[in-house]
C-alpha cells in the first residue's frame, strides 16, 4: 500500500450563514484546500463529498460552480461520520494505487434546533421516541453509573472545549462559559443541559490527499524533506455490532449482557459485555493499520455531540480504561497543557456540528496542529493525532495522522 499524505486543507467556518448557500460554503473550503495543496483543475482524479442532508448531487454543485468536474464525484452519507467515510474511501483509493490525488470535502447546512432525522419511522415520532437528545441522555446516565462521571464533569467538558473555541475563528461559539453557567442552562434531558449539547449548524471543510512522493518502505521517514508534510496513517470506518440497546445504532431493543451473547465482527458469538462499539472497532483497526497505539497520541479531536459522548469516547478509543472516563478526565489529562489534549479546536460544542463537514473539520484542525500552525491553540510538539466521529447508523470513523 502506498503512503497517503495530506497535501492541503481548507475550511468554511462552522456557524449560521443565512446568506451563504451550501454550494458557496463548499466552494470556499475546496478552493482553500486546493490552493494550499497547489492542485489545479485536472489535478485530482476523484472527489468524495460527505453530506447527510445536502441533497442530490451536492458535490457536483460545488465542483460545477468552479468548473472542476469530469472525474468521478460521489456523495457519501454516513451520518455524523460522513466526512470520515469520504476520507476512508479517498485514502484507500490512493493507497491502493487507483488514484494519485483525491479531493475530499464535507458540506452541510442544517436548520436550527433538534434534527428531524429521516432515521425514525413515523410511529416512533408520534410516540415521542425520536428525541435524539434523549438517547444521548440515557447514554450519559449509564456513563454516570458505570464510569464515575458526574454532572460536574459533564459541565467541565463544556468549559474545556468552549475555552478553546474562543481561540478558533472557525468556531460558532467563541465566548467562555463557567461550570455554573453550563449547569444552569436549560435542562434538555436529564442529565444533559442545553450547553452540554452541540448545535447542528452549517459549514464546510476540505482535504486534499495525495500519494506520498517516494514509495519506499521508509517513505514515512522522509518527512524532513517536506517540512509541512502530514501523513495519513489510517482512515477507518466501522458500523455497530448487533446487541447493545444504547449507542448510535438506535435500535428499539437490545440484549442483556448477563443473559446471552451477541455476534462478533467475524460472525462468531462473543459476550455482549465485551462487545466493542463501532468506535472501538474503528479505533482498533486504525491503531493496527497505523502501527501506533493510544499511548502514542499527542492530540485528539473526538465526537462531542454532547459532553458525555466525549467522555465515552475516551474509553472507546482506549485513551483510558473501561469505566475510567470520570477519573481520567478529572486528572486534567485532556485539558490544554495536559498529557493528551482533546478537542483543542473547541470541539463540536464550540464549533457546532455541520454533519457532513464535522469529521473533516477535525482533520483540518489536526493537520494544523501537526504542522505547528494552530496558533494560540497549538499543542507543543504534536506529532501523532487522532480524529474520531461517530453517529447515527451507527457509523464510527477514526483517522490517524502523523506530522
Amino acid at each position: 500500500m502506498d503512503r497517503v499524505e495530506v497535501a492541503g486543507v481548507g475550511m468554511h467556518p462552522f456557524g449560521r450563514f443565512p446568506d451563504v448557500s451550501l454550494t458557496q460554503m463548499g466552494v470556499v473550503a475546496v478552493r482553500a484546500a486546493l490552493k494550499e495543496a497547489g492542485v489545479e483543475r485536472g489535478g485530482f482524479q476523484a472527489a468524495f463529498c460527505g453530506t447527510a442532508y445536502g441533497g442530490v448531487a451536492s458535490g457536483h454543485k460545488v465542483l460545477g460552480a468552479i468548473g472542476m468536474t469530469g472525474m468521478p464525484i460521489v456523495d457519501v452519507e454516513a451520518g455524523c461520520a460522513s466526512g470520515g467515510a469520504a476520507l476512508m474511501l479517498a485514502a484507500s483509493s490512493i493507497a491502493s494505487g487507483q488514484y494519485e490525488t483525491v479531493l475530499v470535502f464535507g458540506i452541510e447546512k442544517m436548520p436550527k434546533g433538534m434534527i428531524r432525522s429521516s432515521f425514525f419511522e413515523p410511529w416512533q415520532e408520534e410516540s415521542g421516541m425520536s428525541a435524539t437528545p434523549a438517547y444521548f441522555a440515557l447514554r450519559a446516565q449509564r456513563l454516570m453509573q458505570t464510569s464515575g462521571v458526574t454532572k460536574e464533569h459533564l459541565a467541565r467538558v463544556v468549559v474545556k472545549n468552549r475555552s478553546q473555541g474562543v481561540l478558533n475563528c472557525d468556531a460558532m461559539y467563541r465566548s467562555l462559559v463557567s461550570e455554573g453557567e453550563v449547569l444552569s442552562s436549560r435542562l434538555v434531558c436529564e442529565p444533559l443541559h442545553l450547553w452540554m449539547l452541540c448545535s447542528p449548524n452549517e459549514g464546510a471543510a476540505a482535504v486534499v490527499l495525495t500519494r506520498a512522493p517516494s514509495h519506499g518502505a521508509n517513505a514515512g521517514l522522509t518527512r524532513e524533506s517536506r517540512a509541512s508534510s502530514v501523513s495519513l496513517l489510517a482512515a477507518v470506518l466501522r458500523s455497530h455490532l448487533p446487541g447493545p440497546v444504547l449507542g448510535e445504532s438506535t435500535p428499539m431493543a437490545g440484549l442483556v449482557e448477563s443473559h446471552v451473547v451477541a455476534s462478533g465482527e467475524d460472525g462468531a458469538f462473543v459476550n455482549e459485555a465485551t462487545l466493542p462499539s463501532a468506535t472501538t472497532l474503528a479505533a482498533r483497526s486504525a491503531y493496527e493499520e497505523a502501527g501506533v497505539g493510544p499511548e502514542d497520541l499527542d492530540v485528539v479531536e473526538c465526537q462531542d455531540t454532547d459532553a458525555a459522548r466525549e467522555l465515552l469516547s475516551y474509553e472507546e478509543l482506549g485513551l483510558c480504561s473501561d469505566g475510567g472516563a470520570g477519573a481520567f478526565f478529572a486528572t486534567g489529562a485532556t485539558e490544554r497543557g495536559g498529557r493528551l489534549p482533546v478537542n483543542m479546536s473547541g470541539g463540536l460544542l464550540s464549533k457546532g456540528e455541520p454533519l457532513g463537514a464535522s469529521a473533516l473539520g477535525q482533520v483540518v484542525e489536526l493537520v494544523r496542529q501537526l504542522r505547528g500552525d494552530a496558533g494560540d491553540r497549538q499543542v507543543d510538539g504534536a506529532r501523532v493525532a487522532l480524529s474520531h466521529t461517530v453517529g447515527r447508523g451507527a457509523n464510527a470513523g477514526v483517522v490517524i495522522l502523523r506530522g
Binding site: M114, E126, P191, V245, H259, F269
Partner: protein, 156 residues
C-alpha cells in the same frame, strides 16, 4: 396490573376509542402485551417482531409475548417536543430490562427523573399520546413504576 401511573392506565377508560400508534407492536388487552419474537436458531428474543433474527441473521422466528414486568435500567425525561411528536411534554423515556434477557427502549409514565431509581420494578401500560382528528386517543406502550400508585405532583 394494578399500577396507576400519573398519565393514567388505558384499560376500561380509553380502549373503546383508542388506536395503536402502529400495528404489530403491542396488544391493548388486559393485561397489554408487547409483541416480540424469539429466534429458532440462536434463541435470542427480539422486539419488535421480524422474520429474520436481528442478532444472528437466521430466518425462522417464533412469536412470543414479553413479560410485562421488568426493572428500570436507564431513564430521563424529554422536556420539549421532538419533531413529529404531537403529545404533551415533559414525558419519561428510558430503557427497561425484562426477564427474557432483553432491554426495551420505551416511554415511561413518570416524567420526573428524580422519582425513579436504577433497578426499580416497572410494568407495562398502554398510554394515550395525543388525539387524532377524529378525537380518538392514539396510544403507545410505556412502562410505569410499580411503586407509583399515588403519584405526587412533584416539582410542578
Amino acid at each position: 396490573m394494578t399500577g396507576v401511573s400519573s398519565e393514567g392506565p388505558l384499560v376500561g377508560k380509553l380502549a373503546q376509542r383508542a388506536i395503536a400508534v402502529t400495528a404489530g407492536l403491542f396488544e391493548m388487552g388486559d393485561p397489554p402485551r408487547l409483541l416480540a419474537s424469539s429466534c429458532n436458531e440462536c434463541g435470542q428474543p427480539h422486539f419488535p417482531r421480524q422474520e429474520t433474527c436481528p442478532y444472528c441473521s437466521a430466518d425462522g422466528c417464533t412469536d412470543i409475548e414479553l413479560s410485562n414486568n421488568g426493572t428500570l435500567w436507564a431513564w430521563t425525561a424529554v422536556t420539549s417536543a421532538p419533531p413529529g411528536y404531537k403529545g404533551a411534554v415533559p414525558y419519561g423515556f428510558g430503557v427497561v430490562e425484562l426477564p427474557e434477557g432483553i432491554r426495551i427502549v420505551t416511554r415511561l409514565t413518570e416524567s420526573d427523573p428524580a422519582r425513579l431509581s436504577y433497578g426499580e420494578p416497572v410494568h407495562l401500560e398502554i398510554v394515550p399520546v395525543y388525539q387524532d382528528e377524529d378525537g380518538r386517543d392514539v396510544v403507545t406502550f410505556a412502562f410505569a413504576a410499580d411503586a407509583s400508585d399515588a403519584p405526587v405532583q412533584g416539582g410542578e
